[in-house]
């Protein structure tokens, strides 16, 4: 499962945002979203990043995708620096790393047809035969061919996320970054989308970076997990080990908070037992 050279290398990354100033004389307060995060992802890995909201997950994704610049530290992709490069020099990253965003409504332009949405990376990167590729992708994500001519609002949340996945796969990337891809979806369609992602990762031999606040989802999809808390990486290791024997107290806390069927049943049975007593 491990390659020789890490595919993604994040080294001591800090990202500090500055709040808008409230005083004329002093600059706005600084908020640290990431504080010295380091990790690496090797080819073929399924790397999960877990943390509650505000832990810096989304910031981290933006840095990985070259959408934002770290205040300190470096992000490298196949040994090439991503951080500190202007947009026009990020072509290598755009071809190889694609992102599935969280909000299946917000990440699709409401004025564009599905055909144009999926073809966007192809057009931007100058691929030939976009029509053929779009048809192929619709098939791959389980959408009918007629979907191509429709607009995003004509689809359900799960279908929209399929469109989003098709767009991400369009330029044949080697890395797929998924930013909470199912947290905005109905519970009933979550499993479908997760299975689709897992299948596609398998089929196209993709490296997956999967961000979620939901530990059970990460366990289902990933082989390695990193736990992020208030901008710091508190635990990193194989999924099984982290779930079986969490080292950091915060990880234990998170795991304890996961609702399980057994836990729910246990509470239910004790309560009914109490009620039965006169």
């Amino acid at each position: 499962m491990t390659g020789d050279q890490p595919l993604i290398e994040v080294t001591d990354v800090h990202r500090t945002y500055r709040r808008p100033r409230v005083s004329l004389t002093r600059p706005g307060r600084a908020v640290a979203a990431l504080r010295g995060v380091s990790f690496s992802v090797t080819a073929g890995q399924r790397f999960g990043i877990v943390g509650e909201s505000g832990s810096g997950k989304s910031t981290l994704i933006r840095l990985l995708a070259g959408l934002d610049q770290p205040t300190e530290g470096t992000v490298r992709f196949r040994g090439q620096r991503v951080s500190g490069r202007p947009e026009r020099q990020l072509g290598f990253l755009r071809r190889e790393l694609q992102v599935v965003f969280q909000d299946p409504m917000g990440s699709l332009d409401p004025r564009m047809r599905v055909r144009d949405i999926i073809a966007e990376p192809l057009v931007a990167q100058g691929h030939p035969d976009t029509a053929g590729r779009v048809a192929e992708l619709l098939e791959a994500v389980g959408l009918p061919q007629e979907a191509a001519g429709r607009f995003p609002h004509q689809f359900s949340g799960g279908q929209r996320q399929r469109v989003s996945i098709a767009r991400a796969l369009a330029p044949r990337p080697s890395v797929l970054v998924a930013d909470e891809p199912v947290s905005a979806l109905d519970v009933s369609v979550r499993a479908q989308i997760l299975n689709l992602l897992a299948d596609l990762v398998e089929r196209y031999a993709l490296t997956l970076v999967f961000v979620s606040h939901d530990l059970s989802v990460v366990r289902h999809v990933c082989d390695t997990v990193a736990v992020l808390r208030a901008g710091e990486l508190v635990e990193l290791g194989p999924v099984d080990r982290v779930y079986r024997a969490p080292e950091h107290p915060y990880t234990r806390e998170l795991l304890a908070a996961v609702p399980t069927l057994r836990g729910a049943l246990a509470r239910f049975t004790t309560r009914t037992a109490e009620e039965e007593q006169p």
Partner: protein
């Protein structure tokens, strides 16, 4: 991150329901009818008017409405109905030029301000505020002094004075669009800034701009009437509602009809464009539509 308010769950109905969502929109209907009437008058005037609107007919001056002169004649014996029809042409010309200038200058500037570096964006918007603070009338007087007062200079002045409202609106809309995940997705796809502006920002603020266009059209009609009234706009003998109003003021007690007719025409046209703008706002506002 964009605010997620309500993610529709379950099956989403087709686009067909959206058109019917607002039902019959009264302001859109009335506004559209009034604007259509102005357009119709102007178009018909190219082909036919009851009389030559500039023909002086001294024996028939200040006649009341009759079969020959539907709205009577003015103090030179010119047919008022014909003048109103040709005046509609002037009014539309005014609107198209003024609002065209305003939209074509203001919208790109606003998008530029939203997409460029913070410093350049601030510079553009403060410059915008400066123009916004400058009265259109003063601008028109300056233009008139430099290029000679006529319809076109008045319209350019109104256009330049209206452009900042487009810039401000476009900037606000663009900032909102730029904060969405689909713009992030476009960047990940490898789209450059210009492509994002053309493919994502402009189509998504088009509704806002169209509404503003209609409202600005009303303002421009009013401004042209005011400038013509003051002698800074359309020059005689070209008929203009504003000038008809100005010519009528000496005869207000003798023949109030001469003031009422162009006054009513101006009021109805302005009302029409404003109602149309309101109606279109309900239909096109992307924030309302996003929930469709």
């Amino acid at each position: 991150m964009s605010g997620v308010e309500d993610i529709p769950s379950g099956p989403v109905p087709g686009a067909g329901t959206r058109a019917g969502r607002r039902g019959a929109n009264a302001s859109l209907l009335v506004g559209g009818a009034l604007v259509a009437a102005v357009v119709l008058l102007a178009l018909v005037s190219f082909l036919w008017t009851p009389h030559d609107p500039t023909l002086v007919d001294a024996p028939n001056r200040l006649r009341g409405p009759s079969a020959a002169h539907w709205l009577g004649t003015d103090r030179f014996g010119r047919d008022v109905a014909s003048q109103v029809m040709v005046g509609a042409r002037t009014t539309l010309f005014v609107g198209v030029v003024a609002v065209g200038v305003a939209a074509l200058v203001g919208t790109p500037l606003g998008v530029l301000a939203a997409m460029s570096s913070r410093r350049l964006g601030e510079l553009v918007m403060r410059g915008n505020d400066l123009v916004l603070a400058f009265p259109a009338l003063l601008l028109a007087i300056m233009f008139g002094a430099v290029f000679g007062a006529d319809t076109l200079t008045a319209m350019l002045a109104i256009g330049i004075a209206t452009a900042p409202s487009f810039a401000r609106l476009a900037r606000g809309g663009a900032v909102e669009v730029l904060g969405t995940e689909y713009v992030l997705a476009a960047r990940v796809a490898g789209r450059r800034r210009l492509a994002i502006a053309v493919r994502h920002v402009l189509p998504n603020i088009a509704g806002l701009v169209i509404v503003q266009t209609s409202v600005s059209f009303g303002i421009a009609v009013l401004a042209e009437a005011a400038l013509s009234f003051l002698g800074l706009g359309t020059r005689p003998p070209t008929p203009s509602w504003g000038r008809m109003l100005q010519e009528s003021q000496e005869l207000l007690t003798v023949s109030p009809r001469l003031a009422l007719v162009p006054g009513l025409a101006i009021a109805l046209a302005v009302l029409g464009f404003n109602l149309l703008g309101d109606g279109l706002r309900d239909r096109l506002d992307p924030r309302l539509e996003a929930r469709g």
